[in-house]
């Protein structure tokens, strides 16, 4: 016979089992719904994407230049973000007459208002999305500019960077410089992000080179900027080719500006080498051939190679016997590159130790020197 207690236990187990069964059915049901819903959304997204591709391609190729159908189809927030994403992607792939046409589509009525609303939002993510939209828009109006200027000073590095990106789309050097100044003072900005900002500061119009140079020369002497950021700036302006700044950079090097910051000195040496500015070599002979930091000694060897002047051979010879292998290798490469006189000096050097002989032999093989 089943007692009262046993009956309660059976009833309890039955209730628990029923609840678990209901829960399982519920979970199964919701997972099926979620799966179908996400498939549906993805399908819709693909459909919309294909539709936008057709409209955009027909528009930029002149097949159908009516923007009305685009206006009609780009209404929901979801559509706007997708539409802008497609345009931005195409802008990175194409050059030439198609680009202004793609850019003009960013101004479709509704889109700009949508992103301006996002820019005014209190949520950082919304603001960041909007900033990235403005980074593709050439003409920023006063109100948009005011907010971007405000956000570039944000303690959130992501928002500050996105706002700087937005400001850098301006045609005015003064506004781009504001963004650059804010960013370059940030000790936490990554090297790559700063390089990107430097390239964006420059690229808009070649005829602004002089105005840009004037702005950058102010940055170079600003001692409140972290040394590693100034190092990146110097390398970037060298790679971009701001020849107007060569003498400014040389003066900084010669005057011992921030000479305690190896990153700055190293970047200045790099710059002298890239500009092939031989007169800087005399300063390097006195100061950096025997520098305590091997990275700077290595850069010095590299710069001497770029100057391609045999008067630096004795110093390269010295660097070819450096205690640090990396420096020795760089100096030997430089001597090989200097032609017959460099080779003669290397022959003498090879007599000194077996290690040097082997190293020189291997580098000559590498450079295919007979």
């Amino acid at each position: 016979m089943v007692s009262g207690d046993d009956f309660d236990a059976i009833r309890f187990v039955y209730i628990v089992a029923s609840l678990l069964a209901i829960l399982s059915v519920y979970l199964l049901f919701t997972s099926v719904i979620v799966r179908y819903a996400s498939r549906y959304v993805e399908k819709q997204r693909t459909k919309r994407r294909n539709q936008f591709y057709t409209y955009i391609i027909e528009y930029i190729t002149g097949e159908n230049e009516s923007i009305e159908r685009m206006e009609k189809s780009v209404k929901a927030e979801f559509d706007m973000d997708l539409f802008v994403e497609i345009l931005a992607d195409m802008m990175t792939q194409l050059d030439g007459q198609e680009v202004p046409k793609i850019q003009s589509l960013l101004f479709l009525p509704g889109i700009r208002a949508h992103y301006f609303a996002k820019l005014k939002s209190s949520a950082n993510q919304q603001r960041i999305d909007a900033c990235l939209y403005y980074s593709k828009v050439i003409d920023i109006n006063d109100e948009e500019l005011r907010l971007l200027r405000q956000y570039v000073k944000s303690p959130s590095p992501l928002l500050a960077h996105a706002a700087a990106s937005g400001l850098l789309s301006s045609k005015e050097v003064r506004i781009r410089f504001e963004a650059l100044t804010q960013v370059v003072h940030n000790p936490r900005i990554s090297r790559l992000a700063l390089i990107e900002i430097m390239y964006r500061f420059h690229t808009l119009a070649l005829d602004q080179f002089e105005e840009e140079s004037e702005c950058i020369s102010k940055l170079l002497v600003d001692t409140s900027i972290p040394a590693h950021n100034i190092g990146v700036v110097i390398r970037a302006i060298t790679d971009i080719g701001y020849g107007q700044l060569l003498m400014v950079l040389y003066d900084l090097l010669e005057s011992g500006f921030r000479s305690e910051d190896d990153e700055v000195i190293d970047a200045l040496i790099y710059s002298m080498g890239q500009f092939q500015f031989g007169p800087a070599g005399d300063w390097m002979i006195d100061t950096t051939v025997g520098h305590a930091n091997p990275r700077i000694r290595k850069s010095t060897a590299q710069a001497f190679e770029a100057f391609n002047d045999v008067r630096f051979l004795p110093y390269l010879k010295q660097l070819a016997q450096d205690p640090v292998l990396d420096v020795r290798i760089r100096a030997i490469f430089a001597m090989v590159a200097m032609g017959p006189e460099g080779q003669t000096n290397l022959d003498e050097l090879a007599m000194q130790t077996e290690e040097l002989q082997e190293l020189i032999g291997r580098i000559r093989d590498e450079m295919e020197v007979v």
């Binding site: 994407r49 591709y53 057709t54 955009i56 391609i57 027909e58 930029i60 190729t61 097949e63 497609i86 992607d89 195409m90 802008m91 990175t92 792939q93 194409l94 050059d95 030439g96 007459q97 198609e98 680009v99």
Partner: protein, 125 residues
């Protein structure tokens, strides 16, 4: 009846660019087949024997150079004309590609008109 329209195989993972190039080539009376990755591209190259292959260097999975190598390694496809699409300032790509018999290089971002001109020129060779 077989089509006399030139057949171009475009191996490119960016759908916007694929569709744009397809659109333009269709207007120039060319048949275009698109492959979104290297494996698909290679299979289509062997299957279709196109008159020209437009090959992106940066592809998901098998890269553009691996695809090119496989095309060059096979007797059947060795002769196929290839134009490569690459990012700007990739000189090592240029040297590598030309040594593997690439006809032309087009740097991204590219001008659509220039791309069309180079395709026409390559097809005439």
């Amino acid at each position: 009846m077989t089509s006399t329209r030139p057949k171009v195989l475009l191996i490119e993972d960016n759908p916007g660019i694929s569709r744009l190039v397809e659109f333009k080539l269709n207007h120039e009376n060319m048949d275009v087949v698109i492959a979104a990755n290297g494996v698909e591209g290679l299979a289509k190259a062997f299957e279709l024997m196109p008159d020209l292959i437009l090959l992106d260097v940066m592809l998901p999975g098998i890269g553009g150079f691996e695809v090119l190598q496989a095309i060059r390694d096979d007797e059947k496809t060795r002769h196929l004309k290839v134009i490569m699409l690459t990012s700007k300032n990739r000189e090592e790509d240029l040297q590598r590609g030309f040594s593997m018999g690439v006809l032309e290089y087009i740097s991204k971002p590219f001008k659509l008109g220039e791309l069309m001109m180079r395709i026409t020129r390559a097809l005439e060779k």
